[in-house]
Symmetry: C2
């Protein structure tokens, strides 16, 4: 049942992973003190890339949509961590409203919603599902492939509170990333817990803010372990005034790409790395793997053809792209059954609760795997990320996954810092 | 690998378990509110008995000694829950001193100590082991059967702090139940966290105080579910002035036994139960299964022979027994590979983290199984206690184990209440 993991998992011990394992106690202690200062998000998932010489997050999702891809073995961990999240963020809640994405035909996604609802139900919350879809004007049951069903209900706003017709929840949990903007229904819910906060939605969130916060977190972590922060942190830059259609801002983009590639080349030379450097250009507010382009030379972003410009200019919910992040690319060394793979780690509160591999059979080691044709290998994690076994060699699966859990939690901590730093002024001073 | 579970697990749906499953959300919500009021013990284990008509705790251990009997599958849950316990009770601790029982030859027990140390190490604590044994005057390594080793070190007291020669811990965790009394070394540690508190040790703890607290908890829980509290709560009484050697106090004992048997007979008649009622007489401060006797008629406790009196009069560490609890006996319906079995549920903070069956091939359904000849079946729990699957029938293993987790947590909550109610006056008013 566990996929055969080639190359990465059978390769030589990696210096970085050895360092993480050898310092597990200090790392956990450091995390404990950081979580006293910073409130963890309710939940999140992190896409990691492991190039052998570098292990880093490339994306951090605050509205994770793949709980259905986690192995059932992870369920007890999810329930325990959800307990902790509820106790921390809304301890006296008894009813919770879950607001999903506006997909009614994506049954994979809806199974994720059902899984989240079931986990939260086991923490002692009555969970119901409210839809932002204008079409949902009455309770709408949807049959799921596993034989269960999900009931989408129309949202009802009463003054400062959001609920359903006969359901007044204490807390509202978003599994909708608000790419299309934060609807009026969700604004000013003063008497209810809204998780994550509305400014964490993609209407206002920017990847570049996240990775700026990650810079700070990675720097502190690197000092703790006396390592080069670059080993866990991809370089990035941003361009804020792009228009792919009328080709304005191409110069900014080319300059940033060139500057980043130069910095990466220097690092590769320093460490004797023979790979070809690359960067990934992404919509700064993009998600679902849309608006993503791999670039190996600055000249590639000048004079984009129509197809490339179309691909980069529109993302989820038809939003126009005018801001991009240019991120150092991290090759992925891992393959699962011959397909290039990257680990995705799931967290609730500050706990790692599971993970899976995103696998793409037709993409290269330096390409975005979050694209049509990908699939998930839910059982690839042989054991959970919080139990390293120091007696085993570093490339034993439990150990590698511990390292993944550490890096994923760095990104989670960065998200906590990012949410603090981007909070609207009235919140920040509250 | 999973033992075949006969009778109990293949039997008909039980009314009580159905009630627990059907109310899982309300139960979890109720626990959540209770844990806001009461601080959970750092860790604990509960012996349960399931007679089919009744599911109840018969013992609650605040110094659990069987972590080595838990399946490795439970490790991630243990680590996650230990994180929660540390964050709640000693959030800024970085070094922890673990004080085990004074066993140097019981390698099974020492494997438990190693397991606890390893779990706590993964929460970011530097853990070392200090021994109360006067013989341990220098660091003493002990080889364990799994090839690892454990280092016992002599305790050093500096003013108000306890530590090792070059180790000043923030917290002291007892895995020694203090049956022989609370040594001066442990008294007055004002600047350190001492877990569990010293008055939870068997020098002062009484089973009858625990079950008095359990009476209160079970009554609240029964009101929540509108059930007869007797279904989850064994009757009990106590005798406080016994001397088995000179036969004083036998009348008190006989009177209590008779009163309890009469009450049980009435309940059996009310529910149409055909079993023979029995009570268990136990040393009120006893542990390790010592000082325990099954009684089916009051006449059995009058005129005990020398062997019986010897068995009842001395318990662990040679302590004399002058106080006993008389507890309603609960038949166990469960068998594992032909041996009579009772579940033992392990918890850290307020989380269920695992369990196993205690099995005895030569004892009856109405006898104490904690006796020489017992063994443990670590894999009997097919899944963890916090994930009921409401779509499955009640006797599916995940569901039965959910019910066990609920009752075990009731006993844990009772222990929290007991620790509050028995706290010395200066603590209680602090």
């Amino acid at each position: 049942m566990v996929p055969h993991l080639t190359t990465a998992l059978s390769g030589p011990l990696q210096e970085l992973e050895k360092r993480l394992l050898g310092n597990a106690t200090r790392i956990e202690q450091w995390f404990r003190s950081e979580w006293i200062e910073h409130t963890p998000p309710f939940y999140g998932s992190v896409d990691l890339r492991n190039s052998g010489f570098k292990l880093a997050p490339v994306d951090m999702n605050l509205f994770p949509g793949g709980f259905n891809n986690l192995s059932d073995d992870f369920l007890p961990l999810c329930v325990q961590a959800a307990h902790a999240a509820v106790e921390r963020l809304c301890p006296d809640a008894s009813r919770l409203l879950l607001i999903p994405e506006n997909h009614t035909r994506n049954l994979f996604y809806l199974q994720n919603v059902a899984r989240i609802a079931s986990i939260l139900g086991l923490t002692g919350l009555e969970v119901r599902i409210g839809s932002l879809l204008p079409d949902v004007t009455e309770p709408t049951p949807i049959e799921l492939p596993d034989g269960s069903s999900l009931l989408l209900e129309p949202l009802v706003r009463h003054g400062n509170r959001l609920g359903l017709k006969d359901f007044d929840p204490c807390a509202v949990l978003l599994n909708n990333d608000l790419s299309a903007g934060a609807p009026a229904l969700l604004q000013g819910l003063e008497d209810q817990w809204l998780l994550p906060p509305i400014h964490a939605g993609w209407a206002t969130r920017r990847k570049s803010n996240h990775f700026a916060a990650y810079d700070q977190v990675a720097a502190r972590f690197a000092r703790l372990l006396d390592i080069d922060p670059w080993l866990v942190n991809p370089y990035f830059g941003r361009c804020g005034e792009l228009n792919f259609h009328d080709r304005t801002g191409e110069d900014c983009l080319a300059t940033q790409v060139d500057a980043l590639l130069t910095m990466i080349r220097q690092k590769y030379a320093e460490y004797g790395i023979k790979e070809t450097p690359f960067v990934v250009v992404k919509a700064d507010a993009g998600t679902y793997g849309m608006g993503v382009m791999t670039v190996r030379d600055a000249s590639e972003v000048v004079g984009l053809n129509r197809k490339q410009r179309n691909k980069m200019s529109v993302i989820k919910e038809g939003q126009q792209v005018s801001e991009v992040i240019i991120q150092e690319g991290v090759h992925t060394l891992e393959t699962v059954n011959g397909g290039v793979a990257e680990p995705v780690v799931y967290m609730m509160d500050h706990y790692v609760v599971g993970g899976f591999y995103r696998v793409h059979g037709e993409r290269g080691r330096d390409e975005n795997l979050n694209a049509p044709g990908m699939h998930f290998e839910p059982l690839a994690f042989e054991t959970c990320c919080n139990v390293p076994d120091c007696k085993k060699s570093t490339d034993a699966p439990p150990n590698r996954f511990y390292a993944y859990g550490v890096i994923a939690r760095l990104a989670l901590l960065a998200a906590a810092v990012e949410i603090e730093q981007t909070a609207p002024a009235e919140l920040a001073s509250a």
